[in-house]
């Protein structure tokens, strides 16, 4: 049940922020290489694995998209040796203070390669140890009156690396990346907590699917895509969908799990299987097929409603090129966009298995059978 766990823990321990996904992409590529026939990177960094189907050419193809980029922070400037920061993606600022972080410093003093500081990506910078730091907020007495109560706005938060101001100025440049450094932790009940489970838990589910497909023949080609830059606007998915032109696209992304304070109608239970999403972002026939399959196989799932933007790569894949029939599968997760996101391992396994079963059943005439209205 938990054999995917070591891979997932490795994966969420890597930085790979939006636009700088190399460290995550490398780990995923190593894992996928034996599971696919071809592997490539998209123009904007998405990792694209192809498993060829058994059907005769030209074969239809299904793209399974799971984004691999992580949210994080970026240095906007330095004041008295403390780093000022902005968000990369929708970091939940309310719980940011106290979070341990890694600063991928690229200044001349950091690389030792002279004034050019030729290293810019977290991927390459990862070769050198990042600077450990912590997100700090000033004492309430030091904040302006309006900022003393409640969560503190990002403009008042800093990163303290412990170094003296001159050293910080030598090492750190505007635009340097900051990732969460919170280590993953297994909790009871086969759950895992850590940062970047959004959406690397879904990458793990897609990996489970690829493993299942090793022993399951499938007619269609399968594009397993770990997309880039989802957290800043589904940019990698848009490019990959345009380039690969899959016949259909299935996007797997995390969704809000039930937890403290969560409403009944906008959240899904944790540990009760994936969600199968319905809404304008979804092709109704794909939704119906997936739901009927889950019922038949007795794989638990819940239905999720998204009345407009699904908040996933699906929004971009649906309107890529001439349009691509899209389905979104949700993986329930608590405390989204914090360093302590939480998922149930069982949900990952079930999602992977459901995907593999769906793919294995895609016949050569599947597209002729699906219609909008019935």
């Amino acid at each position: 049940m938990t054999e995917i766990l070591p891979f997932l823990k490795d994966l969420i321990s890597a930085p790979g922020l939006s636009g700088y996904e190399d460290p995550a992409a490398n780990i995923i590529a190593d894992k996928w290489r034996p599971l696919v026939h071809e592997i490539s990177r998209g123009t904007l960094g998405s990792l694209q694995g192809l498993r060829r189907g058994t059907g005769k050419e030209p074969r239809p193809s299904v793209m399974i998209a799971t984004h691999m980029d992580a949210i994080g922070l970026m240095v906007t400037g330095i004041t008295d040796g403390f780093l000022r920061i902005t968000r990369v993606g929708g970091v939940d600022v309310r719980v940011l203070p106290g979070t341990p972080v890694n600063v991928f410093a690229t200044g001349a003093g950091a690389s030792g390669t002279g004034a050019t500081g030729a290293v810019t990506s977290a991927g390459e910078a990862n070769v050198r140890p990042p600077l450990p730091g912590v997100v700090a907020q000033p004492s309430a007495q030091l904040l302006p009156d309006e900022a003393r109560d409640g969560p503190v706005a990002l403009e008042h938060l800093f990163i303290d690396t412990g170094l003296l101001p001159q050293k910080v100025s030598e090492l750190v440049r505007v635009g340097d990346l900051v990732s969460f450094a919170q280590p993953p932790a297994e909790l009871s009940g086969e759950t895992l907590t850590g940062h970047s489970l959004d959406n690397r838990a879904s990458v793990a589910a897609l990996t489970v699917c690829l493993e299942e497909l090793q022993t399951r023949p499938h007619v269609w080609d399968v594009w397993a895509v770990a997309t880039s830059q989802e957290e800043v606007g589904a940019i990698g998915a848009a490019g990959s969908a345009y380039k690969l032109r899959p016949t259909i696209a299935i996007v797997v992304d995390v969704t809000f799990a039930k937890g403290p304070g969560a409403s009944d109608w906008s959240t899904s239970p944790l540990g009760k299987g994936p969600t199968i999403v319905i809404g304008p972002n979804i092709h109704p026939a794909l939704h119906k097929s997936m739901k009927e399959l889950a019922d038949k196989l007795e794989i638990p799932y819940t239905l999720e409603y998204t009345p407009s933007h699904s908040g996933t790569d699906g929004w971009a894949t649906q309107v890529a090129a001439e349009g691509i029939p899209t389905l979104v599968i949700g993986l329930p997760l608590r405390y989204m966009h914090t360093a302590v996101e939480l998922v149930a391992l069982k949900d990952i396994q079930r999602t992977g298995r459901l995907l593999a079963e769906f793919i294995a059943r895609l016949g050569p005439d599947y597209m002729d059978k699906i219609v909008w209205d019935k």
Binding site: G19, G77, T120, R173, V174, Y242
Partner: protein, 331 residues
């Protein structure tokens, strides 16, 4: 170059109504270009050179539209109510002067509760063009206007309306003039409708299908009294965008720009902008994705009738752009 900047900034062309500025720029670029065309959205597309063996197809984009106002209603006494085209800030409106594309001029007034605790909203402002009735009002619903404010030189600093982004247009024109040789197939694109979402850049990029896209646009600064924090100042060189609200520049493009500036000893600043985006955002998302970045000219008071840039920054922007597009590159 100052004369060119004056000519560009004193032309009135809000988003969607770029005819006047397109004509002005066309006159400048025609003798310098290998091919000039206008696409369906009105983008002025200027090609220079062909792709050599080690060359790339590169799109440079500066938007030629500006923020403006559109007539929404004319009352019986000839007062005009208006809507915004792009991100107009209400703070700078009162008693400002505007000019319509048909040449009509007017001033902006506001309803009387000016002294209320809250600052007035858009709908409380009106334009007075000297008309006394709806009948003799020289403009009609749907007509557009832009701020009227003469170009001004303040020592090293230049001030004008629509520096955003006519200064980018000026940088592109001067770079085209200064360019000697290039291994690249270069497209200098003067885009439309950036201020209403980067729309002209989206279609021109689709048409050109570039391998690399670079916008030239203004960015904000953090160097005025009690301004929002930002590590960008006037006079410290052009800015290399790492991130803004709409996009992350491609990391290889950022490195290419920074290392070129260092090699040529051109001062530059690394930019992380909270608030706004550029044509580069649309170019990046074109087709299967384009490696994109942005060369920014630091500018104070953006989206007011008096936008200020530093002349040395502008000249250094031209130098940096020429250096970038003259040499072969491997990304």
């Amino acid at each position: 170059m100052k004369q060119l900047i004056q000519k560009l900034t004193e032309t009135f062309s809000p988003s969607g109504f770029e005819s006047a500025i397109r004509e002005v720029i066309k006159q400048e670029v025609q003798p310098l270009a290998d091919e000039v065309r206008v696409d369906a959205l009105g983008n002025l597309i200027v090609r220079k050179g062909a792709k050599a063996k080690n060359g790339k197809r590169i799109m440079l984009a500066a938007h030629m539209d500006e923020i403006g106002l559109m007539v929404s209603h004319i009352d019986e006494n000839g007062f005009i109510r208006f809507s915004n085209i792009g991100g107009i800030r209400t703070g700078g409106l009162l008693s400002g002067r505007v000019q319509f594309t048909n040449g009509t001029q007017g001033l902006i007034g506001v309803e009387r509760d000016l002294f209320a605790a809250k600052s007035p909203t858009f709908s409380q402002y009106y334009i007075d063009v000297g008309a006394t009735s709806a009948k003799n009002c020289p403009v009609k619903i749907g007509d557009v206007a832009a701020f009227k404010r003469p170009f001004l030189e303040l020592g090293q600093r230049l001030v004008a309306k629509s520096m955003d982004d006519r200064i980018g247009c000026a940088v592109l024109i001067e770079a085209l003039r200064a360019l000697k040789t290039s291994p690249h197939e270069l497209y200098f694109v003067f885009t439309t409708q950036e201020e209403v979402g980067p729309r002209g850049a989206a279609t021109s990029a689709f048409g050109i299908d570039p391998e690399i896209g670079l916008a030239v646009d203004v960015t904000l600064t953090g160097d005025t009294p009690k301004s929002k924090y930002m590590a960008i100042s006037l006079g410290k060189g052009p800015a290399v965008k790492v991130k803004d609200t709409g996009m992350l520049s491609d990391q290889h493009i950022v490195e290419w720009m920074c290392s070129t500036a260092e090699k040529k000893r051109i001062p530059y600043q690394r930019e992380v902008l909270d608030g706004g985006s550029t044509d580069a955002m649309a170019i990046q998302m074109t087709r299967s994705g384009v490696l994109a970045g942005c060369l920014s000219v630091p500018c104070r008071y953006v989206h007011t009738p008096s936008e200020m840039v530093d002349y040395e920054d502008v000249q250094n922007s031209v130098k940096l752009l020429v250096a970038l597009i003259s040499a072969p590159l491997n990304l």
